[in-house]
């Protein structure tokens, strides 16, 4: 049952991004693009579904949240919300000066610039009162957006991210005039890179994929893995091995570890 969550969450993520992006002008170009995206998402669904049927894994971690939502129990989301953001403190925090290492004052004074994790910035941020203002991380700023708009494929998102999409969606919690542009760039980047991710995941059979995944964002890595397991499942079905009973990968991994520990 849980197995079916992934494809839904993916399309949810896309829908989330689309809702956030400004309404497209009614041009035929954007329409075709959206239609294409729908087709791709549907194709991806089939990939994910085939994966769910062939690869019976009993452990399913809690899925990451969709779009701007965070899933409370998801490990991925917890690590995502630990990403640090540059913020400017707009009101004094008494008796917490020790959190800011560069100064010796007792309080965190107004106007201090420091890095806070996303969860704290999100918790303290208020739209009505100015407690802190969050600055955009570099990769979401105008300069990088131009790069992404020019050719999203050249960017090493693992180095820039690795939570480029999710963190970008989270940035939309903070009010900024640039938000629509950020959302639009996120969506376009995903669309621009998606084809390559899908193609490589569907065609790299029995080969070393580390070069293919090293530049992918964590979301794309998930997609890549789905595609690979779909491909492997299909190949083993073609060879008539789908009905073969196999040892559980969990057990095998445990044994590998035990052997590695053994000689010590």
């Amino acid at each position: 049952m849980n197995r079916l969550l992934w494809p839904r969450s993916l399309s949810g993520a896309l829908i989330g991004l689309q809702v956030l992006a400004p309404k497209p002008q009614t041009g035929s170009e954007t329409n075709t693009q959206q239609r294409k995206l729908q087709v791709r998402v549907r194709r991806l669904h089939s990939v994910c579904l085939s994966h769910t049927q062939m690869d019976a894994q009993p452990y399913f971690p809690v899925q990451a949240g969709v779009g701007m939502e965070e899933n409370f129990l998801s490990l991925d989301d917890i690590l995502l919300s630990h990403e640090r953001l540059p913020v400017r403190i707009e009101c004094t925090f008494p008796r917490l000066g020790f959190l800011e290492r560069s100064s010796d004052t007792q309080d965190i004074v107004e106007g201090t610039k420091m890095e806070l994790p996303l969860w704290l910035s999100k918790g303290l941020y208020e739209k009505k009162r100015r407690v802190l203002s969050v600055e955009l991380p570099k990769v979401y700023r105008e300069g990088w957006r131009t790069v992404f708009n020019a050719d999203p494929n050249v960017v090493d998102l693992h180095k820039r991210g690795p939570y480029y999409y999710s963190l970008g969606s989270q940035m939309l919690h903070f009010e900024s005039p640039e938000n629509p542009d950020i959302a639009q760039t996120l969506l376009q980047t995903f669309i621009g890179r998606f084809r390559r991710t899908m193609d490589s995941s569907q065609n790299a059979y029995n080969e070393d994929t580390s070069a293919l995944v090293e530049r992918l964002d964590s979301l794309e890595k998930g997609l890549f893995k789905s595609g690979q397991s779909g491909l492997n499942g299909f190949q083993s079905w073609e060879k008539g091995q789908a009905g073969q009973l196999t040892a559980s990968s969990l057990v095998l991994n445990y044994r590998k570890r035990k052997m590695a520990d053994g000689p010590h």
Partner: protein, 196 residues
């Protein structure tokens, strides 16, 4: 910064991503709880001060500590919950008896939870099939025949099948056995399913 320890817990768990169960970090958990206690006490005294002396400027700090408390709570809950998911998966992979090296990684409460899970799964399976019972952990892939050809990957000792025959499972020996009897052993890597 606060909450580093709790994130460390999550990171350790995430690093072992294919469902293996790392050792229960009792120490890490205790440190997180200590930090939470500390934060709570500081907040309590600041709240009292803010109330009695009307010092509203303390409120941002109180809020910050409160956020940290909530964060710690979230991390600890997620940590325990994800471990339970992994432990539940172990029941399906290994069957009802876990190897000692895995049990060693579980804390007392988790062992208790595992035995409860085992019991409720067993009573559910007994209730199926019109009182006859049905083992739902069997036949994860649709069976094509009742008997299958298997090869032994390691010495497993004697093994009794339905009709009372005892077979010696010796390394590299090959047998023709009822599928439902050996499915579990295949999953555990003792036998290998030979497809001609």
């Amino acid at each position: 910064m606060f909450c580093e320890k709790s994130t460390e817990l999550i990171r350790d768990l995430q690093r072992v991503h294919d469902g293996q169960l790392p050792a229960f970090s009792e120490d890490g958990l205790r440190q997180v709880l200590q930090e939470m206690e500390c934060l709570y006490e500081q907040n309590q005294s600041d709240v009292n001060e803010a109330k009695s002396e009307g010092r509203a400027e303390l409120i941002p700090s109180i809020k910050l500590r409160h956020c940290c408390l909530l964060r710690n709570q979230r991390c600890v809950t997620a940590y325990l919950y994800d471990r339970l998911l992994r432990i539940r998966a172990l029941r399906w992979e290994y069957g009802s008896v876990l190897p000692a090296n895995i049990r060693f990684h579980m804390c007392a409460e988790e062992l208790q939870w595992f035995s409860h899970y085992k019991k409720s799964l067993a009573s559910f399976m007994r209730a199926l099939g019109g009182g006859e019972g049905l083992d739902i952990t069997q036949d994860m892939k649709p069976p094509k025949s009742l008997y299958i050809e298997v090869r032994c990957l390691k010495d497993h000792g004697e093994f009794e099948i339905d009709d009372g025959t005892v077979i010696l499972l010796k390394k590299n020996s090959q047998h023709f056995l009822p599928r439902w009897k050996c499915e579990q052993l295949i999953r555990q890597g003792v036998l290998e399913h030979v497809v001609s």
